[in-house]
């Protein structure tokens, strides 16, 4: 059983404001979903048996950057709040 306090803690970690009603709904829904996915515990397999898939993530050299500033305008355009080319946010401390 997942408690309402646990749901609130998860919502806090996920930075999502939830109403009391939704916390209660989620508690019930999470119980039924987690109850279902729980069945994987029946599989007996040990950690460390996994194979690396063929297309694992690859890093490229950090070279040939695009020309500085070519994307600035379109990205700044998308800022919800701005001051010139700066993204304006509230003070953190």
């Amino acid at each position: 059983m997942i408690s309402t306090d646990e749901i609130k803690k998860l919502a806090n970690l996920a930075r999502i404001k939830l109403s009391e009603e939704e916390v209660n709904n989620l508690r019930n829904e999470m119980d039924s979903i987690v109850g279902y996915v729980e069945q994987i515990q029946k599989v007996s397999a040990e950690v460390g048996e996994r194979e690396v898939p063929e297309n694992h993530n690859v890093m490229r050299e950090d070279v040939d950057p695009h020309k500085s500033g070519i994307n600035t305008e379109v990205l700044v355009e998308a800022f919800p709040k701005k001051d010139g080319n700066f993204n304006k946010v509230k003070k953190i401390l």
Binding site: L10, I16, V37, E38, A45, N55, N57, P80
Partner: protein
């Protein structure tokens, strides 16, 4: 002149365009007319682009100058989570309602080079999370075969657009069945390519290790043409790669179709099962070899999927914070800005999956859920590898049920999730899968389409196309 849109295919449209029987502008106008007429009822499109005719004029120029490709002038609909530079792209979410894409997805870049005409952006479940489009912030997409029923999802708008003749072909995205299931509900063909075969650059990430872009079309040939135009390794997606197909065979005698019988016992509608048996008989008549197979861990697919997917969702959706782009809702301080923006910007299902993902990744549960799910995913992959030693295709119904009524499952997330039972395994194993119409079932006064799903080994899409075309005949 009037164009026979109903029977139009990419090849026949291309021939007519080349012969000058109609122009790309005339073709686009026909589709715009149908959209105007049908979209208010069906809601397949969230937005029709203003410059459709201008794009079609460019295509006509390309045709006149002799530079035409098969796809030049072909009207296509694009799911609302694939970026087209400068155009609104919202993933059917309030949090991106006015967001304009800052670049072209690789698939879009490729299609632009060919002179495709983009008609508009199609409705979907918010951030591709759902199986009915009821999670769209902009209303459900109704099924063109019965307006009281869902089009399926998450790419419901893309499937309905093709089914209502509001686009010749479309693009969707598939993380656990989101191209195949709506295709089966709407009576069209939908392909999920091998993971890594089509670039995900410019596709809004849902569960990055499972997402693939795929075509939705009226027939297998059209899906194949679009697939061939968008496939290929891409430097902008490090998980994309190239490999040569190994099983280049077309003669039914040489191809074995496997049936995972043990997996088809519970929770499947009896009409769906009957249709599936008829499908198997048809394959036998066509000369294919049929073999019962066992994939013992397949039954855990859905449980594994509903751990791994929300885990990735919770991290991928962390980027929507009201700071860099999209919706901004003001709170009392910076952290409150996050809480309010995300609380109001995300819909119910997105909030639910973020919380679920946060749970399975949180300290104390990580090993029991996330890590364990990765181990079982690996067992499922191995099951498939083993099965494909004996057979070339694995056949299942696409969905355990035909299209359901709007609202029927929306208050019970688990019952909605169970509809993904046959499709999620292809994403977990990374193998290609296609849904092809396999007949109709009567429900009340409606005739609802059904679909069958074929899965093939990695990079063997050609097998799906050759068997699929035979089946369609």
């Amino acid at each position: 002149m009037s164009i026979d849109i109903k029977n139009l295919t990419i090849k026949s449209a291309h021939e007519s365009l080349m012969k000058g029987e109609f122009t790309a502008v005339e073709l686009a106008k026909e589709y715009l007319k149908i959209i105007e007429e049908k979209n208010p009822d069906i809601n397949a499109y969230l937005g029709v682009f203003e410059d459709v005719l201008k794009q079609a004029e460019e295509a006509d120029k390309k045709i006149k100058s002799g530079e035409a490709d098969l796809l030049t002038g072909i009207p296509m609909a694009i799911k609302d989570n694939i970026l087209i530079s400068g155009r609104t792209c919202s993933a059917a979410s309030k949090i991106l309602e006015h967001y304009k894409a800052s670049y072209d997805a690789t698939v879009i870049k490729k299609l632009k080079e060919k002179g495709v005409v983009f008609l508009g952006r199609t409705n979907m479940d918010e951030f591709a999370m759902g199986g009915s489009t009821e999670n769209s912030a902009y209303g459900v997409t109704k099924n063109p075969h019965d307006l009281e029923r869902v089009s399926g999802g998450s790419s419901g708008g893309s499937a309905a657009a093709v089914a209502m003749d509001g686009a010749l072909v479309s693009l969707g995205s598939d993380t656990g069945g989101s191209v195949r299931q709506p295709s089966s509900f709407c009576g069209v063909v939908g392909l999920k390519p091998t993971y890594g075969r089509v670039s995900r650059y410019g596709l809004m990430a849902m569960a990055s290790s499972l997402d693939q872009i795929g075509p939705i079309a009226k027939n297998v040939s059209d899906a194949e043409i679009v697939f061939n135009s968008i496939a290929g390794a891409d430097i902008m997606d490090s998980t994309s790669y190239n490999r040569e197909p190994q099983r280049n065979k077309e003669d039914p005698k040489d191809i074995t179709i496997g049936i995972p019988r043990n997996f088809l016992k519970e929770g499947v509608d009896s009409d769906v099962l009957q249709n599936f048996e008829e499908t198997i008989s048809k394959f036998k008549k066509l000369g294919y070899k049929i073999k019962d197979i066992d994939l013992p861990n397949l039954k855990y697919s859905l449980a594994v999927y509903y751990i791994l997917m929300p885990a990735e969702v919770s991290s991928n959706l962390a980027r929507f914070d009201g700071i860099k782009y999209g919706l901004y809702k003001e709170g009392k301080d910076l952290i409150d800005d996050y809480f309010i923006t995300r609380g109001e910007g995300f819909g119910r299902e997105s909030r639910r999956r973020i919380i679920l993902g946060t749970y399975v990744l949180s300290s104390g549960y990580y090993d029991a859920y996330y890590n364990k799910a990765l181990i079982v995913q690996d067992l499922i992959r191995k099951d498939f590898a083993k099965a494909f030693n004996d057979v070339d295709i694995v056949l299942t119904p696409t969905s355990p049920v035909p299209s359901f009524k709007i609202g029927e499952k929306s208050n019970d997330p688990l019952s909605m999730y169970l509809a993904d039972i046959f499709t999620v395994s292809a994403n977990l194993a990374g193998v290609p899968a296609i849904s092809i119409p396999s007949g109709f079932v009567k429900r009340e006064n409606s005739s609802l389409p059904l679909g069958i799903q074929m899965m093939a080994p990695h990079f063997e899409e050609n097998l799906l196309f050759s068997v699929g075309k035979n089946f369609e005949k």
